[in-house]
Symmetry: C2
Subunit: 201 residues, 2 copies
DNA sequence: CGCAAAGCATGACAGGTGTCATGCGCGGGA
DNA sequence: TCCCGCGCATGACACCTGTCATGCTTTGCG
């Protein structure tokens, strides 16, 4: 019997996944959580074989939760399960110690299959996504550019960013300009959008 | 036995919901589709009692599919089921003839309950969301402002918008300026973001 | 050590953006 | 019928943004 921990902030989706996985004779869902920071404490309590983590979650996101769980309980096999097949997510998931990566577009059997494979020690990754991830490469953004771009993503002005990040306006503009060049965008708003799509934020 | 049609572009979520709903003794999922334009043809074939439609779908979106289905088969009860509880979605869903509106944050029992209530002729709406919807009001954007804002959402420049929409740059700027005023934003990018969040796009 | 890369800053400049005043034509409601 | 609201357009203006050149530090690698 493979013991599963489910983490997803959407109760409906989480419950539905649990119902589906519980139908399999060799799987059993032993815990469900709605936030990233509940993953490690709950895992310690129930000692699952496999943890299925969504990326979008309040508190700690799925990738950070995966890293924390892998550090705390390396024997737990981790699958990242996400809506968006963004290239950056995959590489970050692998870096965080995940053993599998499944997008929510995939057919249900694929998830069940992934759980079994991962439990038996294999790694499971969508080949198409892996290729795209390698083609796009890792995020070329420096720490500062990342920080500035995240703050700019909500549409704030340069002056506001300078205030909240305690940098001069000129510096903000420099970092944004650099990020614009690296994303191939023409405005900071577009740069933020593109970086977001690639999973660089 | 309540016969259900499921429409959601994410195969994993769709399959999981089907598994969960099929567990209920009085419910049965008779069809699943992945795109909005498959809803009406499939409904004609299987004649469901209730249709559960996601908003985000390729082809026709869930709201447009709801309107088409309600026109073609008024006796089918429609529930819109969406990730985002955006105020504008609710009012548009109701205008499209939907009988229920459930967000994916809700507990699983609530969806099952909604199906039964809707099937028995009731309307099901999250009270908190209804209040927010009334407070925010309908979209104040004119048709042109809407069009321009949608085109601007991807971060294109004014000159590009003028080209694709066949309007002068000055006119584009006027519409954007008006939309900026109505959303309370300070830049067109932020205006697009805010309108998006409110379900005005 | 010396050099490269990154962070930070300044100043200057071209071009894009948001606002406003103004004008014209059209269609629907009082 | 008249007038208001909307779409569309122009032109002008202030301001913001993106780019570039330049320079100074700190950090880390060969």
């Amino acid at each position: 019997m493979i013991r599963l921990l489910l983490a997803d902030d959407q109760a409906l989706v989480r419950g539905a996944l649990a119902a589906m996985l519980d139908l399999e004779p060799d799987l059993t869902v032993v815990a469900q959580v709605a936030a990233g920071d509940e993953v490690v404490p709950t895992a310690r309590r129930v000692d699952p074989d496999v943890a299925l983590l969504d990326v979008q979650m309040p508190g700690l996101d799925g990738l950070a939760a995966a890293a924390a769980l892998h550090r705390a309980m390396p024997e737990v096999r981790i699958i990242i399960c996400t809506t968006f097949g963004r290239p950056g997510y995959l590489s970050r998931a692998m870096a965080a110690g995940a053993a599998g990566f499944v997008v929510k577009d995939a057919p249900p059997e694929q998830l069940v299959d992934a759980v079994r494979r991962v439990h038996s020690g294999l790694r499971v990754v969508d080949p198409a996504l892996a290729a795209e991830s390698l083609a796009t490469g890792p995020s070329p953004l420096t720490a500062r550019e990342h920080e500035v771009l995240v703050a700019a993503a909500t549409g704030r002005s340069v002056a506001e960013l300078a205030g909240t990040l305690h940098l001069s306006e000129g510096t903000i503009r420099n970092h944004l300009s650099s990020a614009i060049g690296k994303t191939g965008a023409r405005t900071s708003a577009a740069a933020a959008r593109i970086a977001e799509e690639r999973g660089w934020l």
